[in-house]
């Protein structure tokens, strides 16, 4: 309990520091909001064009896809707020030896590495994402009522999936020295997450539900909220995320053994 309190206190201080830093750069806030709004508009336009030609896509109506986009944007915004910058900085931690300082602290270095930077400006994106989700919930057939509580649960699943996946693409920097290409590769694959998984052919769909679970970021949560999942799929989500979590932890330990402290 004491340890948990200590970690919460560290998190609170990190949050406060990031808030102060971002409050100074107000134009950066506006830029981030604007670029993300355009990104959302492009994703919407893409589906708008597609639905101008077909009435539904793999059994998904236009409103259901927009509900999926709302879920996906919300989940991605939470990931951006708490983790994204830390993963971009992860390569430097290893390459430039910046990990040294974290290793000397009396707390888990991975906790520090993944909570050091926050992009609090993305809170606006979260509001936008939730706005979209709420707006299209009714037309998409979302039951509402107590099911709204499930939205928080599934957004948490989405963020967890994004985080364990991004970690898996970042950790190899201990072995490759340059993590840039793999980070870019992650964002190429990330595009898969911007479409509902039922549209994918069986082999790809199987892959994005198991080996590369990008569908867990927005598609599976949206599907679970709108249509419900069979029991085996709930089990699948738990098994895949646990496996990724364990692999990430193992690779982190192995990576630390290879770490050579470049700055020394």
């Amino acid at each position: 309990m004491k340890t948990l309190t200590a970690y919460l206190e560290i998190f609170r201080v990190q949050f406060k520091n990031n808030f102060v830093r971002e409050a100074v750069y107000r134009t950066n806030f506006l830029t981030s909001v604007f670029t993300d709004m355009i990104w959302m508009a492009v994703e919407f336009s893409l589906f708008k064009v597609i639905y101008a030609n077909v009435p539904n896509l793999a059994g998904w109506s236009q409103d259901q896809v927009y509900f999926f986009l709302g879920t996906f944007f919300s989940s991605d915004a939470i990931f951006t707020i708490f983790f994204q910058r830390n993963y971009w900085a992860f390569g430097d931690l290893v390459n430039k030896g910046e990990l040294d300082i974290l290793l000397t602290k009396p707390v888990n270095p991975l906790f520090l590495a993944l909570t050091r930077w926050m992009s609090l400006t993305a809170i606006f994106n979260l509001i936008l994402g939730l706005g979209i989700l709420i707006h299209y919930a009714g037309p998409a057939g979302f039951e509402g009522g107590w099911h709204w509580l499930l939205v928080a649960f599934w957004l948490l699943i989405g963020v967890t999936a994004a985080s364990v996946l991004r970690f898996m693409f970042s950790i190899w920097v201990f072995w490759t020295d340059r993590g840039w290409a793999l980070s870019r590769l992650y964002y190429q694959f990330f595009q898969i997450a911007t479409k509902p998984d039922p549209i994918y052919p069986r082999a790809i769909r199987y892959t994005i539900l198991t080996a590369l679970p990008f569908a867990f970021i927005g598609s599976v949560p949206a599907r679970a909220l709108l249509k419900g999942l069979p029991a085996w799929e709930y089990a699948g989500v738990a098994i895949v995320l646990t496996t990724f979590f364990s692999l990430d932890a193992l690779l982190w330990k192995r990576g630390l053994r290879r770490y050579q402290s470049a700055s020394s």
Binding site: V49, N56, Q188, F189, I192, Y200
Partner: protein, 263 residues
């Protein structure tokens, strides 16, 4: 001398991009194959799962041909040189280049276009090797690649003009990111532009972005006549002039405000 520095810059750009060969290869393959795979999946959902036989006048096979052919040109368009320019202005590194007897905008372009020329060469070879299967003739492919390369210049001209916003605004990278997102949709990289409903067609027709991917793909696949192609070459020539004027104006105004901080 004039040609010498340009050739040296091209060589330097090529060496820089291919210094980490595996990374270069991963970058090209992933940026080519993943968007194409996603596009193919959309057609799969519309035609196979949705049971459609015809969408916007195109069959499933025609959509797949479009996707496969467009890969050859998506790798030619754009680059990150505009971000480099904006960063140089923001951090004051531009000063180092202003002292040299070369145009900084052209220098950055040449360094960035070098790997694109190499990719264009390999895309031409790949297109000629595999293109026969879907009826692409070598002369159409060469013409299409030429148009794609002109598109690359236009793209850079617009990008460099937007990067000049860094003279007055530190966060100019935001404009460049927005531009890239709009280009990804309006260049025909995500889907054939004739899928746009008639009421929205004016959007892509009034910008030059369709000349980057959609135009070359249409010509390579024989959906544009030679006459249409020549007309579009004329249009691209006009955009080149507009782009040149934009650069002259934006950089002329910007450089007067440049404070050379840092660097």
């Amino acid at each position: 001398m004039k040609l010498q520095w340009r050739l040296a810059t091209l060589k330097n750009g090529l060496q820089d991009a291919t210094a980490y060969r595996l990374e270069f290869l991963i970058q090209i393959l992933s940026s080519a194959l993943v968007p194409a795979a996603i596009q193919s999946v959309l057609w799969y959902a519309m035609f196979v799962l949705g049971g459609k036989t015809d969408v916007a006048g195109m069959t499933y096979a025609q959509m797949l041909h479009y996707t496969l052919t467009s890969i050859l040109f998506t790798q030619i368009r754009g680059g990150d040189n505009d971000f480099e320019l904006a960063e140089m202005i923001r951090e004051g590194q531009l000063s180092n280049y202003l002292l040299r007897p070369v145009g900084v905008v052209e220098f950055v372009y040449l360094r960035g276009v070098a790997p694109k020329l190499l990719i264009a060469f390999f895309c031409l070879l790949a297109g000629m090797g595999a293109g026969w299967a879907i009826g692409i003739t070598p002369e159409r492919l060469v013409g299409a690649m030429f148009l794609a390369l002109i598109g690359n210049i236009i793209h850079y001209q617009i990008s460099a003009s937007l990067a000049a916003a860094a003279f007055v605004w530190e966060e100019a990278y935001g404009i460049l990111m927005v531009k890239n997102m709009i280009v990804s949709l309006l260049s025909g990289e995500l889907l054939p532009l004739n899928l746009f409903p008639p009421s929205m067609q004016w959007i892509w027709k009034s910008a030059p972005f369709y000349l980057y991917v959609f135009g070359p793909t249409q010509y390579a696949l024989g959906r544009w006549s030679h006459q249409e192609f020549l007309m579009q070459l004329g249009v691209s020539g006009l955009w080149l002039i507009v782009g040149w004027a934009l650069i002259r104006m934006s950089w002329g105004l910007g450089i007067r405000r440049y404070l050379s901080l840092g660097g």
